[in-house]
């Protein structure tokens, strides 16, 4: 009740609304994701009491996540790793003239994911925090392998071999830079620009947004090209669509929240895994629609992404352990307000603890009310002729990457990656496994090496630790399930 009282104070309602609005605008800009949005607004929060400040930051967080989804759907430009899976079906939907519906589904899915997660947070936060502590390097390694295989196995385009190869290329690119364990340089070829490795944004923008517009130029799409994008379509969902999407949102929210609770796992793995999970669960006919504009394929990662964002607050508020880069910035903010997050937080400062949790729910409501009416205006971006849209998207990609590092070398690298991505896409090499491999590569290697050290250079941790074994069995099942399903169907028809 204390939380409800804090969250519904007029000032705090105003703060969460302002946060959501500012977050959405900043999240839509290339290169500025939730981390940058929160970091930029921390100085503003010093004017408020700690609970109000955190409520404002939580609003910014949700707004930025939703803003990122908007650019992922409309421009195929995922600004952060958590929205890469959103592009798989969101962008094809926008291209086929259903941009309005895609944005509406994203808004509903984000709202539902965030709401369900806020309820779960309210009920199970302290208990889940204890469970998350039992996850050690071997479990994290297994979880990363599961996330990687889940996407590779269902990448669809080009077949399993091409997906695996692209995942390996992603892992290879992740090894560029300073080795996290030993601190030695790898594949930098003497260039200082590569010491920190290749930036995620650079690779994601090159693989998706930049290659998309370069492909448009290659295919000769000009002003005269019939542009379906100008048609926003209806925002309304049919009863059948709701029936199709609702269970997927429920399942993905639960999965997203549980993954989000684990420090380090976060929204990226959650969104990829829920996408793969839904695709595997779908009937063969619905499965073929994944990647071509499936509403279910869009709703799953969106709800999981949002639920994981809420889940990542569990270790932050209950243990003082930031589960992601964003919550790490928030931890810094908390400390600067004179609050020490940890097991005693909800005893010492119940107003902050419960106020933030309830404001998450309020934030989701505000986000929905704010964004639904704005969808037609967002979608108008797509009505621009290709002659204007293509150079503008290239500009957004280049400036987005420049804003992160302020290094021109990154721009050259991005253009080169974009050109290579065009060639690869023409040969039906999927980009998604490469991005997943790249995102998880560093953590995968670090956790593997730590696990090997713990078990005297042996792989025995795979079968000696029950949770690791369980996750590994799940991984094998994911690979085998389509084969088994095919055989089963053949046996039935015979």
């Amino acid at each position: 009740m204390a939380g409800l009282e804090v969250a519904t104070r007029p000032t705090n309602l105003l703060l969460v609304s302002a946060g959501c609005f500012a977050g959405t605008l900043i999240g839509m800009l290339p290169g500025l994701g939730p981390v940058s949005a929160i970091a930029l607004l921390i100085p503003v929060t010093y004017a408020f009491d700690p609970a109000g400040a955190l409520i404002l930051l939580a609003g910014v967080y949700y707004g930025a996540v939703f803003g990122g989804s908007t650019s992922a759907i409309l421009l195929n430009a995922p600004g952060v790793a958590g929205t890469v899976a959103t592009t798989f079906d969101g962008f094809p939907l926008a291209r086929s003239g259903a941009a309005g519906k895609a944005l509406a589904v994203a808004a509903y899915a984000s709202f539902s994911g965030g709401t369900l997660a806020a309820v779960m947070l309210l009920v199970a936060a302290p208990a889940l925090a204890t469970v998350s502590l039992s996850f050690q390097s071997p479990e994290y390694f297994a979880l990363m392998v599961l996330g990687l295989i889940a996407v590779t196995a269902f990448a669809g385009e080009g077949g399993f071999a091409k997906s695996t190869l692209m995942a390996v290329v992603g892992l290879m690119l992740a090894t560029v830079g300073t080795d996290r364990t030993d601190g030695v340089m790898r594949f930098t070829f003497g260039r200082l620009d590569l010491l920190d490795g290749i930036s995620f944004l650079l690779l994601a923008m090159a693989a998706f947004a930049l290659s998309e517009v370069l492909l448009a130029a290659l295919n000769g799409e000009t002003r005269q090209t019939t542009n379906k994008l100008a048609d926003m379509g209806s925002l309304k969902l049919s009863r059948k669509e709701v029936q199709d999407v609702a269970p997927a949102i429920g399942r993905s929210s639960l999965l997203g929240f549980l993954i989000g609770v684990l420090p380090g796992a976060g929204a990226t793995i959650a969104s990829f895994m829920s996408y793969a999970f839904e695709r595997n669960l779908a009937a063969p006919k619905a499965q073929k629609e994944f990647g071509k504009g499936s509403l279910r394929g869009l709703a799953a990662p969106e709800s999981a992404n949002n639920a994981a964002s809420s889940g990542s607050f569990v270790p932050l508020l209950t243990l003082g352990v930031p589960g992601s880069a964003t919550t790490a910035v928030m931890l810094g903010a908390l400390i600067s307000y004179g609050i020490n997050p940890g097991p005693s937080l909800f005893v010492d400062r119940p107003d902050v603890f419960w106020g933030v949790i309830v404001s998450m729910y309020v934030g989701n409501v505000v986000l929905l009310i704010l964004n639904l009416p704005l969808i037609p205006y967002f979608a108008r971006i797509l009505a621009l002729p290709q002659t204007f849209l293509v150079p503008l998207i290239v500009f957004f990609c280049l400036v987005g990457v420049y804003l992160v590092s302020f290094n021109v070398f990154d721009l050259y690298l991005m253009i080169a990656f974009g050109a290579v991505a065009v060639v690869l896409r023409r040969f039906r090499y999927p980009m998604a496994p490469m991005i997943v491999g790249f995102t998880l590569g560093g953590l995968l290697e670090t956790n593997l090496r730590r696990s090997m050290v713990l078990y005297d250079d042996s792989f025995s941790f795979v079968w000696e630790r029950p949770i690791t074994l369980l996750i590994m069995v799940l991984t094998v099942l994911i690979v085998l399930l389509p084969v088994l399903r095919k055989r089963w169907r053949r046996a039935v028809t015979d």
Partner: protein, 157 residues
């Protein structure tokens, strides 16, 4: 033809994996860890092997699949390689000019050139669309977010 280019692509991956694997042999090993089983080179070596296996499999299998598919393929549309190359060249030029001529000048030039490359010939909308976005973007970052983009400075200033 399709099978040939598929195989060529797979062989390009084989070459990439070999280059990656060979480069991995030059990674320095942390002093005192030379005799350990897992070093900074181990993961790259493992990736090289998996990558090579996948690429060779695609070269053999996907090439054969492409041959089988080829007969049923529709005629490919004409590709505009010139426009593709021009857009890349304009992007490279923008990257080169960004810190030399400042954000507003370089972005305006880039957008105008990009629109011309894409076939836009209506001058008034072209100029408006090339000038307005950089100014709005610059003002937003400069005044609202306090992020400073490169500005124009005279040579020698």
């Amino acid at each position: 033809m399709k099978a040939f280019s598929e195989r060529l692509m797979a062989l390009a991956f084989v070459a990439f994996c070999l280059f990656y694997g060979l480069s991995a042999t030059t990674i320095a090993v942390f002093p005192g860890r030379e005799h350990e089983l897992i070093t900074s080179r181990s993961f790259p070596y493992g990736l090289t092997i998996v990558g090579l296996l996948c690429a060779l499999y695609i070269a053999v299998k996907a090439g054969a699949d492409a041959e089988a598919e080829e007969a049923g393929q529709p005629v490919r549309r004409q590709l505009d390689w010139l426009r593709f190359a021009a857009l890349i060249a304009v992007s490279v030029a923008y990257s080169f000019l960004l810190e030399r001529t400042g954000f507003i000048v370089s972005t305006t030039l880039f957008l105008a050139a990009g629109m011309l490359v894409m076939g836009e010939r209506r001058w008034v909308p072209l100029i408006a669309a090339a000038v307005a976005p950089p100014l709005i973007f610059w003002a937003l970052l400069e005044f609202a977010l306090d992020i400073h983009l490169p500005s124009f400075s005279w040579p020698g200033a």
